[in-house]
Symmetry: C3
Subunit: 139 residues, 3 copies
């Protein structure tokens, strides 16, 4: 069995952003040499997501507005978590909706994707360096 | 290590439906010959889900009404994504709530499930042929 | 390839609770002897979750209030599922938001976690014995 591990680092300059990380994940898969197996890609922080959806700007705006409706950033006092001195109570909830991780099939050395599947890093509390983990097992 | 891959195709005649695909996934597992390992089952389209819950008709109606409340199909103009000519902005959001994928333990050649666990395909933008991927690794 | 399976049992005395199960999952990993691979941890019941977030009491209260807003327990008649004689229609929906499972990378014999990641069992219909599955594959 072959295993591979890499951390991808991001420093998003705004509080929230969706960034297509498919090229970086593909580069990991190429580097791993795995031809058949499973690839796990997860946020290592609890106010960020990794998810799969479409790379379409209007859709990302829809996600942003929808998440802000489901778990508004303000008023900060709405979240008990913010009593700890944080201001990211909403970010924990938004990340929960979007998900922590994706598991992707590796087939013939490729990410085994449908036509529109792309992997995104979803940042909900940015303006600092944060990490995504890529772990691949297979042969 | 043994690996297995299969696409399951669906052509749901309505916009939305939940379909129990446990029998097809079990058939994949039987065909794979894997006795111990992990099984990934994911939608290959970004307006559909694969999830695990109960096969109970009333619950599925509850899911349908709840998702329509969280991300209504209309008005279409509510979603920037629909400016691309699509009418499925809501479907991307509904699929996000229900999830893209499930990972299931394979033990002794069986799906290692609790008493009520069943795998569903969740269609949110049907009336065309769409795919689910089953990937199994193990031995 | 090495594989490992264990059931963790819980009997939560209230309807809802979040419990940090990271120590039990770590003990499974130690027992497995797996050094490199993937660990799946999933609820075996469809009214419970396994998820990763922060072990902070205020945040858990925020999750509780937020989920109750998204899918209120009462009125029971709000859910068709409750016509079956159950009173847990809301629990199926709450578990869907929080997720059924997590997949965690195993690296050098450890759960490969970021600084704040902890694994929780999310109970939404307690007061009875229920199970979580831990399955590990690797080498």
């Amino acid at each position: 069995m072959r295993t591979y591990r890499k951390e991808l680092w991001f420093d998003i300059p705004t509080r929230r952003e969706f960034r297509n990380i498919t090229p970086q994940v593909k580069a990991c898969l190429d580097e791993s040499g795995v031809r058949e197996g499973l690839l796990l890609c997860n946020a290592m922080h609890i106010t960020a997501s990794v998810f799969i959806n479409d790379d379409e700007h209007g859709l990302h705006n829809d996600f942003e507005r929808w998440l802000e409706g489901l778990a508004p950033h303000e008023p900060l006092s709405h979240y008990q978590h913010n009593n700890t001195g944080e201001d990211n109570g909403d970010a924990h909830l938004k990340r929960t909706v979007m998900g922590r991780e994706v598991v992707v099939a590796v087939t013939n050395g490729q990410l085994d994707f449908g036509p529109w599947e792309q992997i995104f890093y979803g940042e909900f509390d940015g303006r600092r360096r944060k990490r995504v983990l890529v772990k691949i097992i297979g042969e």
